[in-house]
Amino acid sequence: MIPINYYIALSAILFTIGALGVLVRRNPLIIFMSIELMLNAANLAIVAFTRVYQILEGQIFVFFVMTVAAAEVAVGLALIVAIFRTKHSINIDEMNNLKG
């Protein structure tokens, strides 16, 4: 059996990649995908723990996370579409009307 630490390490790496992705990308869609990566890194960890501890609670949590992520996607995409309609661009670096 693969030791639990490997899963944790993998999830940590995925999480980090996701977090850095948020920082470096300018397209909100990709940023959004990076965030999904972070959530899924967490899911991976939870599932791994659940498997090791043999309890179901965690798996329920994973479902919740997935559901909520879907809801977030819906809202996020709607926002992005709305912005694209007004600005004809979705480059987030062009979105700095508000600052100071």
Partner: protein, 709 residues
């Protein structure tokens, strides 16, 4: 039958007088105002006489409390009057001479306010004069050092008010700050002295736990035995007060300038009464002074040096009142030297005779000045005195100031002896009384001054104060000389100015007080004739350390001889060949720079200005403008504190940083360090990614802390 219960009335009468004049004076005529004020002063004199009479029945001191003042813990001060032979003597002098001067002032001020064109100020003058009498009575009548101090400062205030009486002009009536400056100078010099007085009273309180005379004096010997330094300190701080009030070195400079006040003021305050308060103070504190001979010596030396120093300056003056002013300083030096040596009776004696003859001289000088003014007006307007000076219309008043400054440029100085001459003929009464006063001052037998001055000299001679003796003797020589010079210059020879030629004798209201004072100046010596010692015995009841002065014939002869020689020399220089208009003083021709030194008061004023006054102004300006305002107020609070907040706030908002950075940040790890500082500063720039970066930095920092801790 005793009248001690009347004691408070020596203050109440003048106060009532001034209140009456303040409240109703607006409706009174000048005569009524003057009468009311004189009456108030006169009643105070009557009370003083009654008190003196009572003391003959009951010579021990009587204390009369009228109210509580300051009671805190052991500090127990009351408004208590003290009637004893010393205070009563002072009361008699103050109210007696004061009343005469009040009467004189009715005539004098009537003309003075007309020359200076402000009739309203007549009333104000008498209010101030009454106030002065009241304050002086508190000074001499108080039963504690602090009550004495109330009067002490009160008379200082009156001095300020009266020197600055014509506050908007100089002595010649030109618009100027001069008179008000003189007033301020007097008050501040006095305050410096008062500082000494205050410190002395603190020392005294914490040493004796009282400021009441009897309690202090009772404990004095015991304390002096255990801690003589303390008593020395007290007496020397008191001396500082004395130098301020009695115009001794180093604080004498205010007194000559004080002549800016109307002449009755010069006579009353700056010759006869107020300035002698220092002498009174030392006499009153005799019990302290006698325990510390070192302090006594210092007091005597200060007095003696002042006496000589001022006498030399008097020689070089041209202003009739300035001569008398320096003479006053000099004579005060005699008194201070006298009481300093422990010759309290002699000092007090000279104080009394000096009040007579110096009051007389000042008032006569005032009469001379008025005469000169009358002469001048006669010339200018061809009508001696318009009873109602032309009132200024509204439009003129503003221009007046500047116009005056213009056309009064060559203003006539009625007090300048170089404008006088030959007044003996136009003002005979004044001449005779002036001569009496001058002889008394010069110490010519048998005038009052001879007896009192000789008693001081004799004490110095036999008391082992030889330095003091010689200083005073030389001063006495100068005294006779400058008085001689003055008499010759003013009354003899030919008028050097047309005003002098047209001068007129003063009215009776002025001359009668002069005659009374002249009489006193002649017979005043009888108060304490050698061998009889009336005054000494009288004071003995109060000042237990008093010793009857001895009459030393050699001293008397020496001083008389010197006086006569001095008068003779003055005749040689000024009488034989009277000065002509515009001619330089013969002494100037002979001694050049030395005379200039005397004329310019040995540059003491200039020295004080350069050393102290200008420095004080510089320091305050620097403190106020640079330290307090520029540095502390503007720089520290505005720039440093407020500026730092605004700066921080802007830096955090990246207002100052350039906008490139965020991409460079990720161009490579090598760039990271380079741009770290810049990157960290670009905080609130509107970019989602940099916001996220911050979140991440926060996470890294927290995790780093948790892992590395």
């Amino acid at each position: 039958m005793t009248f001690f219960y009347l004691a408070p009335w020596i203050v109440f009468f003048p106060v009532i007088g001034l209140l009456v004049n303040i409240i109703f004076g607006g409706r009174f005529s000048e005569k009524v105002i003057g009468m009311a004020a004189s009456l108030a002063s006169g009643l105070a004199f009557v009370v003083s006489v009654l008190l003196a009479y009572s003391l003959t029945q009951h010579p021990e001191a009587v204390r009369w409390t009228i109210g509580e003042w300051i009671h805190i813990g052991t500090l127990q001060l009351d408004w208590t009057f003290r009637v004893d032979t010393l205070s009563t003597t002072m009361m008699l002098v103050v109210s007696g001479v004061g009343t005469l001067i009040h009467i004189y002032a009715i005539g004098y001020m009537r003309e003075d306010v007309r020359f200076k064109n402000d009739l309203k100020r007549f009333r104000r003058f008498f209010v101030f004069l009454n106030l002065f009498i009241a304050a002086m009575m508190i000074l001499v009548g108080g039963d504690s050092y602090l009550m004495l101090f109330v009067g002490w400062e009160g008379v200082g205030l009156c001095s300020f008010l009266l020197i600055g009486f014509w506050y908007e002009m100089d002595t010649l009536g030109r618009p100027s700050w001069a008179n008000s400056n003189a007033a301020k100078k007097a008050m501040i010099a006095n305050r410096i002295g008062d500082f000494g007085f205050l410190i002395a009273s603190f020392l005294m309180f914490w040493a004796f736990h009282s400021l009441q005379f009897d309690q202090v004096f009772q404990q004095a010997p015991a304390i002096a035995a255990s801690n003589p330094g303390l008593i020395t300190a007290i007496t020397l701080f008191l001396l500082l007060g004395v130098t301020g009030k009695s115009a001794q070195i180093p604080l004498f400079v205010w007194l000559p300038d004080a002549m800016a006040g109307p002449t009755p003021v010069s006579a009353l305050i700056h010759a006869a009464t107020m300035v002698t308060a220092g002498v009174y103070l030392v006499t009153r504190s005799a019990a302290l002074y006698v325990t510390v001979p070192a302090a006594q010596f210092i007091v005597a030396m200060v007095g003696a040096l002042t006496a000589l120093f001022a006498a030399t300056i008097a020689v070089g003056q041209y202003d009739i009142k300035k001569v008398l002013a320096y003479s006053t300083i000099s004579q005060l030096g005699f008194m201070v030297a006298g009481v300093g040596m422990g010759a309290f009776a002699a000092g007090m004696f000279h104080l009394i005779t000096h009040a007579f003859f110096k009051g007389l001289l000042f008032l006569s000088a005032g009469s001379v000045i008025l005469g000169m003014e009358r002469g001048h007006h006669h010339l200018a307007h061809h009508s001696p005195l318009s009873p109602h000076p032309r009132p200024l219309s509204q439009g003129e008043r503003g221009e007046g100031a500047r116009e005056d400054a213009g056309h009064r440029e060559e203003a006539f100085d009625p007090g300048d002896m170089r404008n006088m001459g030959g007044l003996r003929k136009t003002m005979p009464v004044t001449f005779w009384v002036y001569l009496t006063g001058a002889l008394a001052l010069a110490g010519v037998f048998p005038f009052a001054g001879f007896w009192s001055k000789d008693e001081i000299l004799a004490n110095a001679f036999s008391g082992g104060f030889s330095a003091v003796y010689w200083l005073l003797t030389i001063a006495a020589f100068f005294t006779a000389f400058y008085m001689g010079r003055q008499i010759w210059m003013v009354f003899f020879g030919k008028p050097r100015h047309e005003a002098a030629a047209k001068a007129e004798e003063s009215p009776k209201v002025i001359t009668i007080p002069l005659m009374v004072l002249a009489a006193l100046s002649v017979v005043g010596g009888a108060l304490n004739l050698p061998g009889v010692e009336t005054l000494t015995k009288w004071l003995e009841h109060t000042v237990e350390f008093i010793e009857p002065g001895e009459f030393v014939m050699s001293v008397a002869l020496t001083s008389t001889a010197l006086a006569l020689i001095a008068i003779f020399i003055s005749w040689l220089l000024y009488g034989r060949e009277p000065l002509k208009a515009g001619e330089a003083d013969p002494l100037k021709k002979m001694f050049g720079p030395i005379f200039t030194g005397m004329e310019r008061k040995w540059f003491v004023d200039e020295g004080y200005k350069a050393l102290f006054i200008d420095r004080y102004v510089d320091i305050t300006r620097f403190t106020a403008d640079v330290i307090d305002w520029k540095f502390w107020h503007d720089w520290f609070h505005e720039k440093v504190i407020a500026g730092a907040y605004n700066w921080l706030s802007n830096v955090m908002l990246n207002r100052y940083a350039d906008q490139r950075g965020i991409d460079a940040f990720f161009n490579g790890l090598g760039e990271w360090t380079k741009n770290a500082a810049a990157g960290l500063r670009r905080f609130q720039n509107g970019f989602v990614r940099s916001y996220a970066l911050f979140v991440l930095i926060g996470v890294v920092a927290i995790l780093g802390y948790l892992l590395l801790k």
